[in-house]
């Protein structure tokens, strides 16, 4: 038996997505910029996806730029916007993805002032701290919607209200783990720029999108032809975009059903796993698909490989190195002690996850931990 519980890392590409992409690869393979019919057909497909995505996140099609994925979208949003303003203060959180955090660190080295908002033990930022951190000099605030390691969800509506009220800063949201899992409504949430990725919701890798609200100017990071209004030059990845579109279509349609199912499974899994002595859940049960649990007497990587040998795939928060222990900055930020950081495992679900898989994983987890416990006690 196999249980793939690493959907936060990437997801299986669904059959209907592969079929649609295959059709583009083999039949509608024109360059979207070509003058002829085949080019126009490909361009039309991309436009269709723009409309679909726009409808899903409640924006207009020309507010969407296709990219190579989450990392590029985050970079384009942050770096592209900072090229247009002279303001030198930035705000983000301590629990962002490296493709945001490292960009901010880069700007800090360039002389920018960066405020890293602290989070509480559930991974939520302090709105008070946000409020008094904002100044006239604040150019941009970047906040992750759903945390990829512990699943915490930030209150975007409250955050955007505070930003708008106390500054003229632009609000960027990394919604890579949110799209297709929770409601992403750029108007309601007051988002100015939003990062999206395809491969977290059963689409292909190497495709993503950035929403940029009309009126907000960003500059390109790449220089090339005139595609996508020169903001993101380069021949559009038409098959990828079509696959992304199909994945979004299904995800939007099934959002409520999948959400309900995953929440039920999530809670079932957590309740059962927490029966293991000393285990402890990290972060909040906010997102329907991300679960983080520490087994304080274990080493995460050892547990990961043991589970893997039984066909169960998960992630850890640290590498099993005897030197230079490097722990997850997220687990650090929510204040976990050494043992809980070292023994942390992330289980992430998808709409394809079954109860049988979870029961199998729970059983193997219980057995493996008992076995490993024996070995460790033997010393």
């Amino acid at each position: 038996m196999k249980a793939y519980l690493d959907n936060g890392a990437t997801t299986v590409v669904s059959k209907e997505v592969v079929e649609k992409m295959n059709q583009v690869y083999t039949e509608i393979y024109g360059n979207p910029s070509s003058m002829h019919h085949m080019g126009v057909q490909a361009e039309k497909l991309i436009k269709d996806v723009k409309r679909l995505l726009a409808k899903g996140i409640k924006c207009t099609p020309d507010e969407i730029i296709f990219t190579s994925g989450g990392t590029e979208s985050n970079n384009l949003a942050i770096q592209g916007y900072l090229k247009t303003t002279r303001k030198k203060h930035l705000i983000t959180t301590a629990v962002e993805h490296p493709s945001v955090l490292n960009v901010f660190e880069h700007f800090e080295e360039q002389g920018y002032k960066v405020t890293y908002l602290k989070v509480d033990e559930l991974g939520h930022i302090d709105l008070e701290q946000l409020r008094y951190s904002l100044t006239d000099e604040t150019a941009l605030v970047s906040v992750m919607y759903v945390n990829n390691e512990i699943g915490s969800i930030q209150d975007l509506q409250a955050i955007s209200k505070i930003i708008k009220k106390h500054s003229s800063a632009v609000f960027h949201v990394d919604a890579v783990q949110a799209l297709g899992k929770v409601e992403c409504h750029v108007k309601k949430h007051g988002i100015d720029m939003m990062t999206m990725s395809s491969h977290k919701l059963h689409g292909p890798m190497g495709v993503g999108a950035l929403y940029v609200k009309k009126g907000i100017k960003i500059r390109p990071l790449l220089i090339g032809g005139g595609q996508q209004k020169t903001i993101r030059p380069g021949t559009e990845n038409a098959p990828g975009v079509v696959g992304f579109g199909e994945a979004c279509k299904v995800a939007f349609e099934e959002l409520n059903v999948n959400q309900t199912k995953m929440i039920e499974f999530r809670d079932y899994f957590i309740a059962n796993v927490l029966e293991i002595p000393f285990s402890k859940q990290n972060g909040a049960s906010d997102a329907p698909h991300i679960i983080n649990i520490s087994f304080p007497n274990m080493r995460g990587e050892v547990l990961l490989h043991t589970l893997e040998s039984h066909g169960i795939y998960v992630s850890t928060g640290s590498a099993c190195a005897s030197k230079n222990k490097s722990y997850s900055h997220v687990l650090e930020a929510i204040g976990l002690d050494e043992k809980h950081k070292e023994g942390a495992i992330r289980f992430s679900l998808s709409k394809f996850t079954t109860k049988e898989e979870l029961d199998y994983a729970i059983q193997v987890l219980k057995d493996s931990i008992e076995e490993l416990d024996q070995i460790i006690k033997g010393r």
């Binding site: 050892v302 490989h305 040998s309 190195a321 005897s322 070995i375 010393r379």
Partner: protein, 391 residues
């Protein structure tokens, strides 16, 4: 066709065995150059001449300078059988050298194998030397005892002139000094140890130990990557991958935790020896280095050594770490070695290790284990992978 002259120094000194070594070197070079079209090898008076298409020079030279047993190579310039042509060609060569260094001392060495040519060797040297000395009065001076540059002139069916030297690795031709079983880990030392032995002509196979699933697949991949780096020099290598987990679990259960490392190492030696016996390999090779870590004390080495009958060669025993790293960088294993994946899991690493173990005590601990059975199963369940340079 262009020509490269190959010098192999030390082999040329070997008395009656010279043929064996030369043949091994020729076989090795042939094998390594087999993918390049129109390559011809000739042996002549203790050197070798490699004819190749001119556009293949970089690749052929790179292969030759990474073949054990070759001391240096020189690209050859050819000209007609006249003294004037020799002057002109020697002059061109000197001009090229002067682009790299402002001045140097030189001498001319000639060999006349084509006895039809009217001048004898000393006369050729004298004339060409005189001409060059005259032409480059400001930059060059003659030094017959210790010159910076030797202008070699060989009078054959044509005249061969060569001055530039590209250093080779030296050492002895591969597979001329017996077979050794290398204990290969993902660390910095053992690939270097294997390389140094191979460079002296020892044919290598490797044994690698892991503790899957307690260690990552990537740790194993890393060792495979390291072994693959060695194939640049030795063409191919067989790697035996042995899971040590059951053994470590048994030690963990029955023996003092401070002896974990030393007992594991004894098992590794015993398993490597077992595989060596089966494969008719005659020694073990390790990257051990005196005083580097707690298990590599004099006492520690004695205890691991006493587990096996085969000789154990430790070419790095007295190297400083910086010197090992230097070689690791030269053979391009360093960057791979420092990747974070560990092949021995930290779960079993004790907080305290015995620094001065005694054979008697360790053997006593070992007697608590089903040693023979554990070794038998570990050897039986090993995986074998063959890596080739051209794959």
């Amino acid at each position: 066709m262009d020509t490269i002259v190959v010098r192999y120094g030390e082999i040329a000194l070997k008395g009656k065995n010279r043929d064996t070594f030369e043949n091994a070197l020729i076989r090795d070079i042939r094998e390594r150059l087999s993918h390049i079209e129109d390559v011809k090898l000739k042996r002549f008076h203790g050197r070798m001449y490699v004819d190749h298409n001119d556009y293949d020079f970089e690749e052929v030279a790179d292969i030759l300078t990474h073949t054990f047993g070759i001391v240096s190579i020189s690209p050859v310039a050819k000209c007609e059988l006249t003294v004037e042509a020799m002057f002109e060609t020697a002059k061109e060569q000197v001009e090229e050298l002067l682009e790299e260094m402002p001045s140097f001392t030189f001498k001319v060495e000639s060999r006349r194998s084509n006895k039809g040519f009217h001048l004898k060797s000393p006369e050729i040297s004298k004339r060409v030397g005189g001409f060059i000395n005259q032409t480059f009065k400001d930059e060059l001076s003659v030094d017959v005892h210790n010159p910076d540059i030797v202008i070699n002139i060989e009078v054959r069916e044509q005249v061969y002139i060569y001055t530039k030297r590209l250093a080779g690795l030296g050492g002895m031709p591969y597979r001329t000094a017996g077979k050794g079983m290398l204990l290969l880990s993902g660390g910095i030392d053992s690939p270097v140890a294997g390389y140094l032995m191979a460079k002296r002509g020892v044919q290598l196979e490797a044994v690698h130990f892991h503790s899957y699933p307690f260690t990552s697949d990537r740790a194993q991949e890393k060792v495979i990557d390291l072994a693959r780096k060695l194939t640049r020099y030795i063409g191919e290598i067989k790697v035996h991958s042995v899971n040590l987990l059951e053994i470590q679990k048994a030690i963990n259960e029955h023996c003092p935790s401070s002896e974990m490392t030393i007992l594991s190492r004894r098992f590794m030696m015993a398993i490597a020896e077992r595989i060596a016996f089966r494969r008719k390999y005659k020694c073990l090779i390790t990257g051990e280095n005196i005083a580097q870590v707690a298990s590599q004390t004099m006492e520690g080495l004695t205890v691991t050594n006493s587990r096996v009958k085969l000789p154990v060669f430790r070419p790095l025993i007295a190297y400083d770490k910086v010197d090992i790293i230097k070689v690791a960088k030269e053979i391009d294993t360093f960057e791979t070695s420092i990747l974070p994946f560990e092949d021995c899991c930290t779960v079993f690493l004790p907080d305290r290790v015995v620094i001065k173990p005694q054979v008697k005590d360790i053997e006593e601990s070992e007697s608590l284990l089903e040693v023979e059975d554990l070794i038998y199963r570990a050897v039986k369940e090993r995986e074998v992978i063959v890596l080739r340079h051209d794959d």
